[in-house]
Amino acid sequence: MIDKRLFKLEGIISTLIVLVFMTGIQGLAILAQGIFLARAIVDFWQNKLSSETSLNIALFALAFFVRQLLVVIKNKYMAVYADKAVETYRIKLLEKYTEIGSTIIADQGTGNAVTTLGVGLDNVKNYFQLLLIKVFDLSIIPWLILMYILYTKWEQGLFLLLIFPVVIIFFVILGLAAQSKADAEFVNFKNLNNRFVDALRGLPTLKQLGLADQYSDEIYQISEDYRKTTMRTLRIAMTSTFALDFFTTLSIAVVAVFLGFDLLNGVMTLLPALTILILAPEYFLPLRNFSDDYHATLNGKNALTDVLSMIDRPTIKDQDKLTLTTWHNQAQLTLAHVDFSYSEQAVLKDINIQVTGYQKIAVVGESGSGKSTLLNIISGFLLPTGGQINVANQAIPHLAQVDWQKQFFYMPQHPYIFHDTLRENITFYAKNVTDEKIKIATQKAGLTELVNELPEGLDSIVGESGRQVSGGQAQRIALARMLLDDQRKILFFDEPTAHLDIETEYDLKQTMAPILSSHLVFFATHRLHWLDQMDYVLVMRHGKIVEQGEPQQLLADGHSQLNQLRHDLGSV
């Protein structure tokens, strides 16, 4: 019922002791509430009103008050704890994200990683807050009440004790039946729901085909099928709550009737009977509360599993093997016999390169030839599965080195634009730069037009749900980031212009060319016109470097792999 993982949390034991203590008092208050109410009623019933009646009513009110007050206090107390626990998880989670980097996201999918961080942690919080209170209510309150009832009238107590497991068994069995029914309908269910979204997403296409109007009835039919399927499942699913409801309510009725017979036979008097009758619903209440939130706690449990499995991922070892202050004109990088495989499949085979100083290296090949993977190995986003790497005369196991990451700037095909001001986006890598420097960088990156166009210039919000920028503009923002940080002497480009229209590409090339000088550049592309800016080229095919050398030389050779590639890429 309680997750074992909960006990690993810091400070949980003392928190739980306080919770147990409060729940105990609450249980006693519930007992007192029942007892004194019964007494007051009996006083009226017997028409024996005295000062004691007022006392009974006052004590009833006090017990009721204490009980309700404790509900609030317990909730608040656990909320504070849950917030603290979730904050710890959040920090650990983000630390893990930044530590493992993009691989975690490639594995989990962006959507999943975002969900875990947002909704996931929220569910975990609810789980801590709801579950613990309900579990402790269930494990303390009914048994206090039962002890009292057993003490007053053991037969009734025994009945209530025996019915408890029966209720739970029926609830569980019917719950399982509902689950299997839901599983059986799951595919159907998902299909129907998806088809509605499918139709909405495909709406422009339907419009193009002139089918948009006819599809409306289809939408209705799909939704009606969805309703029928859902109702089929619900009819079963709700029987489990029905069973719980049925047994608890009926038990109260049965207790009442038995009490009636006992009273009729003179075996007992009204006071204990009335007390038992008042306490019987309280006996079942924690169980009902627990089952009401059962599904919410399941979500929380799954969310906790996701969060913990993310936090428990192994970290990358040996990230501090490299000591390097700045990459300079004489520095060397060597990759010898480097391999990379992904789930048993070789993606890169026997990579051998030697790079010195501020070389400009093009990595060319068709889609899927391994260009991006090679870039990811060199930038340390992926770890090689074999081979030797040497940087500035130091042998290192991989390039995911803290000192290496400080040397370079990486320009992907779609640079990410943060939901923030344009200024914050540009100065992302270099905080505290002067406005003058920012102005120069925006000019050099060709952003002046965009800045002038935006209503609040550099202080306009860009990115998702702000003012969206085009692909070319995103590239220019990334270039400006690069220009502001002159400490980084290595540049990676991964197909920066392949998706742009040719004129934007042409403009961007004019902007980029001067930036490349006095940097070590790795430039992966299938747009071969970039070769005129490069002084070395790696030609890749099927995960191997099939040729390397100076571009002019290779282009002059009619039988070179580079010329073969040009032919394959469709240029004649």
């Binding site: 930044t98 975002v114 419009k207 193009q208 085909l209 709700m238 029905f242 009737v257 009273l263 040719i502």
Partner: protein, 575 residues
């Protein structure tokens, strides 16, 4: 408050539906009432039963009726509750069916056939989520509220049987519990709910920034900033949420205390009135115990009403959608399909996007439109497809203004864009959507013409293979070929190609373009492209800059005369 009034006054989604579906709503709240009444009645009857039994009547028959009733109410409550949940869910899902259809019609009436850069499925799934939200508005707010009002009436009458002064007292208390507290709770919660929703969406944006921008956070060495920034929003959200929950807990506490007052006053009042009557004393326990089960209802009403502001955005968003239109204009047959743009100007936000453009495309002619992003290419296509209307100038097909041709446009103009949507059904059905009346053989011929036969032969289920969501099972090149087959069947004389190969690698791009121009050789083609690959297939190439054509000629002439064109050709590696 005025805002809410305003919202309800022009509501097209909630109120009209309630009016047409009265019976289901009625049954749902009636069953809910019966559930509560049965629960109260169970305690009432059992209280009476044991009190009466304690008087030790001579004959068991004297308590026989209460015994039967106790069991009956014990069984009735769960059954009513079960029935109520089924009825209300069924009703709500019916609402979903109707409103999904309406949502679709509403969106369809304004959807454009040329995709804008930012108009995506996201907006639509947002609307679909809004519908899901409204389900909760019914289940959690409106049903409990309706029941609450019935309970109000029912309880007043029941208490009235004791005496009318006492009934007045109950009316006052119930008014506080069911009307005053919920209203106050709603108003006090509203600002907080808005803040919470805003923070939640901010948290989502932040989480997206954290995950998608992870590489930049790591490389810039700003991991600590990331943790701090995230923490700020999250702490703020937690504070707001806690404040909301604390408010709810104290509100429920107040309700409980009000119930306590009701219990004590009822006990003393009923007690004083009945204590001298040997038969009536048995009702003291009955009335007192019957109050407790009402608490669930009280709290339900209050929670539901407090939450109501969560749905405001959804209702507002749905209500800004246009009413679906149903007008149908009979199509005329056009013989001439020349496309003519005459002095067309279009402005957006006071900025000229298209500036006095003239263009004539003769039947069977093939033209390419080139230009930087933002130069007006997509706007030009939207104008031709009558998705938007020009500020001045005219656009005609066969001398008819395109705005008048809107309802038959799909028979005149076919569109192949960069993400032609494939639906989650079989290959055959997908392609047949081009022309629903096409025979199987015609569909298969179209597929064959687009060079997909080898692919179909390699699939175990052949033509019956299911496309997965958005055609995910096939590669980009294959998806575009399927879409092309669909256009072949559509048989419209004019085809708009909107960067159909932008996401393909160069080799596939070239192959797909060759196929397109081969199978569409008899039709007019207006092709927006970002590369020059395949440029020799067209008769005319137009370069658009700031809403005007700056260069227009045959590719052959451009090679000779334009240095800019030569530079671009060189970049694409075309000699």
């Amino acid at each position: 408050m005025n805002k809410i009034k305003h919202l309800l006054a022009r509501d097209q989604w909630i109120v009209p539906f309630l009016k047409t579906q009265k019976s289901g709503f009625f049954w749902s709240i009636l069953l809910n009432l019966l559930t509560i009444v049965a629960a109260s009645a169970l305690m009432f009857v059992s209280g009476y039963l044991i009190s009466r039994a304690a008087q030790r009547p001579d004959n068991i028959l004297l308590i026989y009726v209460p015994i039967v009733l106790t069991r009956a109410f014990g069984i009735a409550r769960p059954i009513f509750r079960y029935a109520q949940r089924l009825v209300s869910h069924n009703w709500v899902l019916r609402f979903v069916s109707k409103s999904r259809q309406r949502l679709y019609e509403s969106v369809a009436s304004t959807a454009s056939s040329i995709r804008g850069r930012f108009q995506t499925g996201e907006v639509l799934s947002l609307l679909a989520d809004d519908l899901d939200q409204l389900q909760n508005l019914y289940l959690r707010t409106l049903f409990p509220l309706g029941t609450g009002l019935l309970v109000y009436l029912f309880v007043s009458v029941a208490v009235g049987t004791v005496n009318w002064l006492f009934m007045l007292w109950w009316l006052v208390m119930l008014t506080i519990i069911m009307i005053i507290v919920p209203t106050m709770s709603f108003l006090m919660n509203r600002a907080r709910v808005h803040k919470q929703k805003q923070l939640q969406s901010q948290l989502y944006t932040d989480a997206t920034d954290a995950v998608l921008g992870l590489q930049d956070w790591v490389l810039s060495g700003r991991q600590k900033d990331l943790v701090a920034q995230q923490g700020y929003i999250m702490a703020n959200l937690a504070r707001t949420k806690n404040a909301g929950m604390t408010f709810g807990w104290w509100r429920d506490f107040v309700l409980q205390i009000l119930v306590l007052i009701l219990v004590i006053t009822t006990l003393t009042c009923v007690g004083w009135q009945f204590k001298n009557n040997h038969m009536a004393v048995n009702f003291i326990a009955a009335f007192t115990l019957a109050i407790f089960p009402l608490v669930d209802d009280f709290i339900g009403v209050n929670q539901g009403v407090s939450e109501a502001s969560f749905y405001e955005d959804s209702i507002e968003r749905l209500n800004t959608l246009p009413l679906p239109e149903t007008s149908q204009i009979k199509a005329e047959k056009l013989n001439d399909t020349t496309v003519v743009l005459n002095h067309v100007t279009f402005k957006y936000d006071n900025k000229k996007i298209i500036d006095e453009v003239d263009l004539v495309v003769h039947p069977g002619e093939k033209i390419a439109l080139l230009g930087r992003s933002g130069s007006g290419k997509t706007t030009l296509l939207k104008l031709i497809a009558a998705d938007i209307a020009p500020l001045s100038g005219s656009i005609t097909i066969g001398n008819q203004p395109v705005s008048k041709l809107q309802h038959q446009l799909s028979t005149l103009v076919a569109v192949l864009d960069q993400q032609s949507y494939l639906f989650n059904t079989s290959i055959l059905n997908n392609v047949r959507m081009g022309n629903i009346k096409a025979t199987d053989d015609q569909v298969k011929l179209a597929i064959k013409q687009t060079g997909l036969q080898p692919l179909i032969d390699s699939l175990p289920n052949g033509y019956e293979t299911q496309m997965q969501e958005a055609g995910a099972r096939f590669s980009g090149g294959e998806q575009q070929r399927f879409a092309l087959a669909r256009i072949l069947l559509q048989d419209a004389p004019i085809v708009i190609l909107d960067e159909p190969t932008v996401s393909l690698d160069p080799k596939t791009e070239y192959d797909v373009l060759t196929q397109i121009f081969k199978v569409l050789q008899n039709r007019t083609i207006i092709w927006v492209t970002h590369h020059l690959t395949g440029i020799d297939y067209v008769d005319q190439a137009y370069f658009l800059e700031k809403g005007r054509f700056v260069l227009a000629d045959t590719p052959k002439n451009l090679r000779k005369t334009s240095a800019h064109f030569q530079q671009l050709l060189a970049m694409d590696g075309i000699n």
